[in-house]
Symmetry: C2
Subunit: 526 residues, 2 copies
């Protein structure tokens, strides 16, 4: 059993490392009080060392069997569960998120690790393709060519503040990178360093019990400088990040300017617009008002998929719906946000909206010290289209209602949207003509399009796409949730005329892994 004391150390290749004098401190989210111990900010030497051990472990880990990798992922889940209430309580202290939410998030995190274990064990994700040789082809013989996805190499993962478990140290990016066969170096989010250390201990314990080389995982503490140094490490091959547009874009720029650029999967801003079509407003305005206000205020509005924009057509029924939203928001208690910094930024944003002459206040909750209250503003579509900055994300429970004069204007609002993680539309049978016109615009800008539903609540499944065109992410070709996330940390390699004994199992004659493979263009598993 590991000793689950929070030591304030970095972890490099399974060992504690605390070479630096600089420290950062966790803060109790609900009170702003500093928590002990301090956490040693990683030194340049420690960052380099993490890169070195990751590069050394990469070929060893890549060559380990799929079964062993699956067992490792499952062992991480088991070790995280074994941390019990210690983990949940620390995460609650640091993030202010309520225990039931964190319990659910832990379930999601462990479920995610086990789902990736299943994907790795099954094995078909490598997209194996075999074109058999044709020695008699004229004018030249055709060689034997076999192709599959292989691990991309060491990955740097930035823990996100808003999911201290599911998008952090053992979150989606780490799980999918380990599943793909890549070592991971995590930069702990300074908002929950203690939670991060506990999860790192769980990963290290799992690595030890499964005989996985320690260099497969390291955890470093630090702020911007450590993050930048990590992105510039020559040994790394990809970066995963969830956070603000400003920070995500900065990391993207840094990675693109490297001597050898690497992909950055930054999931950033999104206002997740909801389009309310007239039939739906008329048939179930009150239910939509309830659904929307619940989604807007869930988790104090601190979800990437928080619906920050509501688009509808002017009329008494839409007015009534907004009134119902305002009434529902008035019932919501002020909430603790993840960090003091996030809370101040949110308050400033709401103040700016209140002071903005083009916005009308529909509802603004009474301000409370160090707590966030929900708010709703409205704006004409004409004014919204003329002021693009109104479409910028404000992280927290505040939304803008865009009031259109007619369906054409609503379509123009859709056409003008930037990239989004999600867009939603609510409609009834009477709206179907408008749905047909609207849907292509929504697909064009979205990672996920929802009908008669709300965007918060992201399923971890095979068909989930959690991504979208810029500025929702820096790479629309990829998802950060769901089993397809494994693809972001892999690249294809072809083997030409390589003898069977030297091929990876997935490409060998007789298909020893029993995976789906494309033989001469035909999928088969025989």
């Amino acid at each position: 059993m590991p000793d689950n004391t929070i030591s304030g150390s970095n972890y490099i290749a399974g060992s504690v490392s605390a070479k630096g004098d600089a420290q950062l401190f966790a803060v109790q989210a609900s009170s702003g009080e500093r928590l002990s111990p301090g956490f040693h900010v990683a030194t340049l030497e420690e960052v380099s060392e993490a890169g070195r051990v990751a590069a050394e472990a990469a070929p060893v880990y890549a060559a380990i069997s799929a079964e062993k990798k699956a067992e490792f992922l499952e062992a991480i889940a088991t070790e995280i569960e074994a941390l019990g209430d210690l983990l949940l309580e620390r995460a609650h202290l640091e993030s202010g998120l309520p225990l039931p939410r964190l319990t659910g998030e832990r379930g999601r995190t462990c479920g995610q690790l086990r789902l990736f274990a299943k994907v790795v064990r099954e094995g078909s994700w490598v997209d194996a393709r075999i074109d058999p040789a044709q020695p008699d082809r004229k004018p030249l013989p055709k060689p034997d060519i076999r192709r599959m996805l292989t691990p991309i190499g060491p990955v740097v993962v930035f823990g996100a503040s808003n999911f201290p478990l599911a998008f952090s140290v053992a979150g989606g990016d780490t799980a999918s990178a380990l599943a793909a066969g890549c070592p991971v170096i995590v930069k702990a989010h300074p908002g929950h360093p203690g939670t991060s250390e506990l999860v790192a201990q769980a990963i290290n314990a799992a690595a030890k019990s499964c005989g996985i080389p320690g260099g497969v995982f390291s955890l470093l503490h630090g702020e911007v400088e450590v993050g930048q140094t990590l992105v510039n490490l020559p040994e790394i091959s990809a970066v995963g990040f969830t956070g603000s547009l400003r920070a995500g874009r900065a990391l993207y720029n840094l990675a693109a300017a490297r001597p050898k650029p690497v992909p950055v999967y930054a999931e950033m801003g999104s206002i997740n617009p909801l389009f309310l079509l007239p039939g739906a407003v008329s048939a179930r305005g009150a239910a939509i008002a309830k659904g929307f206000s619940d989604s807007l205020t869930l988790g104090v509005g601190q979800f990437c998929t928080n619906p920050g924009l509501l688009v509808g057509i002017r009329g008494p029924e839409f007015d009534a719906l907004l009134q119902s939203v305002a009434e529902a928001l008035a019932q919501v208690n002020p909430g603790v946000m993840l960090t003091g910094g996030i809370c101040s930024k949110f308050s400033e944003g709401v103040s700016e909206r209140s002071a903005n002459a083009s916005l009308t206040q529909v509802f603004v909750g009474e301000s409370a010290v160090d707590r966030a209250t929900p708010s709703l503003f409205s704006v004409s579509a004409a004014s919204f289209l003329a002021n693009p900055h109104l479409a910028e994300e404000l992280f927290g429970p505040s939304a803008i209602v865009v009031i259109c004069e007619d369906a054409d204007e609503l379509l123009r609002v859709a056409e003008g949207l930037e990239g989004q993680l999600t867009t939603s539309l609510h409609f009834e049978a009477s709206d179907e003509g408008l749905v047909a016109s609207l849907l292509p615009h929504l697909v064009k800008v979205s990672g996920r399009v929802l009908a008669n539903s709300y965007p918060t609540g992201v399923e971890v499944t095979h068909a989930m796409q959690h991504g979208g065109p810029y500025p929702a992410t820096t790479d629309a070709r990829s998802t950060s949730v769901g089993t397809a996330a494994i693809l972001r940390f892999a690249r294809p390699v072809s083997y030409q005329d390589i003898p069977d004994a030297f091929l990876p199992l997935e490409l060998r004659d007789g298909n020893p892994r029993r995976i789906w493979r494309t033989i001469d263009g035909e999928l088969q598993r025989s």
Copy 2:
């Protein structure tokens, strides 16, 4: 029937456009003589217009049936063939490539278009995934989620000089982008503008006969400025390029600095090392010498996969092999290169190598005016490892031999390699221990690894990977040859609870397209 006169115009959405006064001229590769007519360099207004029509056509083309898209691709192939000798003769004039080679390249180009038609018609490439709803799931019902790949949007393609047909106007990038459902704007390579115009006419004729909107394809002439303006067009979603490291990296940097960055698939430099293990050198040194010198000089060494580095272990048998290579190279006639600029650069590179004190001349052909002659230099592994610039590509028929003292040194050379399109190893049964040590290093840096073979000759198949880690390309996750190239121009979208009638056919109940789909994690086609 189109009038296949070379007019010197740009083509925007199916119509000729010649608004600018500036012109560029094709040059007869073998003589350096200027050919008429002049080609109108696209103006800023024309570049913008090409972007506008592509964006307008994008949703229309995306919504066109797979069958129609397949017919379009096939019609392009037919129209290219209908150009007959006119196309081949113009390509020969402009590129200096011999007619038999161009005839083969035309076959490859048309075969490629027809292969993508087959992929599009079959339809499973969209990676459709369906997670059925579970309305009774506790605590919350599970929604219906369906995911598939959709067209990424308008693509800019840069024609390459070295394949005036197969990597140019209707080459791999254009074929795969059109197959994925994306409009294409091609910047014609200034080395073969007439060939480019003829192929553009073929594409436009095919679009017209198939009822495809004209905005799906435009062709613009120009040099660096037109290229840069194209990459900065707000309407585009991706860039395809084949050419030099310098130019490819410049385009990558430009695209990464856009307000909305877009992926750049630049296929750039590669020296395609061949490792000759002692058993193979001993058993069939003469045959390897012949195979290597043929591969090095094929097409005057102007292939991306040209083998520019030969690595072996010092000894009399390896010396004899090198002597055989020198004798074979002495039989090769001076060759016309693609452009005068390429030929001068090659001559300069050979002169630099001749003057480099760390290199020994094994063979240097007599210099000929405006023609390239092959050359071979050798260097000790120690010196090679100490001089990284020796591993830079010299485009043309010149190679460097790295002579290692022993197997350990050979492994160190492999470890030190940059990213490559290909690496090859030649071995016999007696070398298998060394193969096992060497192979992981080669896989790490390569897009394709070949056994007992030579890298020139890239099959257009399902299992081909033509790509590799930087600096071979700017995106190792992708291929520019083979059916998997369609994936570079697509991104996933999830549909949540969208009624069947509004879903793309690929995701509808009952699987009307009869494609392979992943239902709840299981591949099926029922």
